[in-house]
């Protein structure tokens, strides 16, 4: 296939943030994927790649850092209580990473369902949505239980005294934290996803940053509250 170079050059000169009908025309006429066309517009020859990446990423990264720091404030305020419970310290990076991942999985899977027209009016009777919920819920509980047990084993090797009461409390706090946050993430993904989809926006672009930020921020706030309540 002959590559329409002059068209690609024209495309490259269009301002990045502007969606141009040329993208659609090139896609239809020459069967070039929209992803390729987007990549050429974004990172093609003679574009300032360095500036593009910095400019597009800095705002969302700063927002994510500020939100995480707010979550950190909650943990810092209960520091004296938190740092004496060794399994909780061991679980902290795991919990943060795990819940953030569930946020992005729920968002991207729900966005795909919207595009595939699998979401009908009655959300409560939707089989696909029900499957997604139970799949994520099941995996989150299973991985959390594995994480907790491993944290107990590690703590045991470092001579941390674990009584049955402490074991029970840690199980309760972490499982409750994960259950609450997964439900919140699911609720936000579904309703915000429907809102953006009805506004003819791509839910992927909004849901993933929203849910991952809420996951980080919410996880630490809920964890701090539960630690205060149970310890």
């Amino acid at each position: 296939m002959k590559i329409p170079r002059q068209h690609l050059e024209m495309l490259r000169k269009i301002k990045r943030e502007k969606y141009h009908p040329l993208i659609h025309k090139l896609h239809k006429k020459h069967k070039i994927s929209k992803k390729t066309l987007f990549y050429i517009k974004e990172y093609g020859p003679h574009t300032n790649i360095f500036k593009t990446i910095i400019k597009e990423s800095i705002k969302i990264l700063l927002l994510a850092s500020i939100l995480s720091s707010f979550g950190g404030f909650a943990l810092e305020s209960i520091k004296n209580l938190f740092i004496v419970i060794m399994p909780l310290i061991i679980l902290l990076p795991t919990l943060n990473g795990m819940i953030g991942s569930y946020g992005s999985i729920i968002s991207s899977r729900f966005s795909t369902m919207l595009y595939e027209d699998k979401i009908k009016k009655n959300l409560w009777k939707n089989k696909e949505l029900e499957n997604l919920f139970f799949e994520i819920f099941g995996i989150s509980i299973l991985t959390t239980v594995i994480g907790i047990i491993l944290s107990f084993i590690i703590s045991f090797f470092f001579d941390y005294k674990l009584s049955l009461l402490i074991i029970g409390k840690i199980f309760l706090v972490i499982i409750l934290d994960v259950v609450i946050i997964v439900n919140i993430l699911f609720f936000i993904s579904v309703f915000a996803g429907l809102y953006f989809y009805k506004k003819k926006e791509d839910p992927n672009n909004f849901l993933i940053p929203i849910t991952t930020s809420i996951a980080d921020f919410g996880n630490m706030i809920i964890l701090a509250i539960l630690v205060i309540l149970f310890f």
Partner: protein, 180 residues
């Protein structure tokens, strides 16, 4: 039902990898609690510091993967402007975010706790430089290696960055604390 099981297995597998990395990082954190967590403001910057590696290196790996699949990036030729600019931008972003995290923790310490701790700005900054000097090239070479071996880096790089990122972050924080 089969799709349900497939999805379950894929997510469960990738989550297990992340859990192991997170637990190693958490163990280091627990063992060196006296060195890391007893510093005022450390718990404020720690979540953001751990998350930053995934955000920056994750996007970097994703951009590389797109370029590789679209044949804009040649896996056998990495000294190109596209890769160099990507590397530099990711590194600069990491430095800026590390500095901002330090600044937030410093502000909290100064206004809420009432202690003047300029060290808290330099700790994440230097640790961020060390961690990213390891993590960003590691992301580059692993993404290209996986692509060359016929895998889709998008499916593997997420959990890989999560687990290695947590470990390099905690180790670099410890190195900085020893230096300072």
């Amino acid at each position: 039902m089969k799709r349900f099981h497939d999805g379950f297995r894929e997510i469960f597998g990738s989550q297990l990898v992340s859990i192991i990395g997170g637990l190693i990082a958490g163990t280091l954190l627990a063992v060196y609690t006296n060195k890391i967590l007893l510093i005022p403001g450390m718990l404020i910057l720690l979540p953001g510091f751990l998350e930053m590696r995934g955000n920056i290196s994750g996007s970097f790996a994703s951009r590389l993967s797109s370029g590789l699949f679209l044949k804009v990036i040649n896996p056998n030729k990495i000294k190109t402007k596209l890769i160099k600019d990507n590397l530099m931008a990711s590194f600069l972003l990491a430095v800026i975010i590390s500095f901002v995290l330090g600044l937030i923790a410093f502000t909290f310490n100064y206004f809420i706790i009432g202690s003047f701790t300029p060290k808290i700005i330099f700790i994440p900054l230097i640790a961020g430089i060390i961690a990213n000097a390891i993590e960003i090239p590691l992301t580059l070479f692993t993404t290209i290696y996986l692509f060359k071996k016929g895998h889709d880096p998008n499916n593997i790089m997420g959990p890989f960055i999560m687990s290695t990122g947590d470990i390099t972050s905690i180790v670099s924080l410890l190195i900085v604390l020893v230096i300072i």
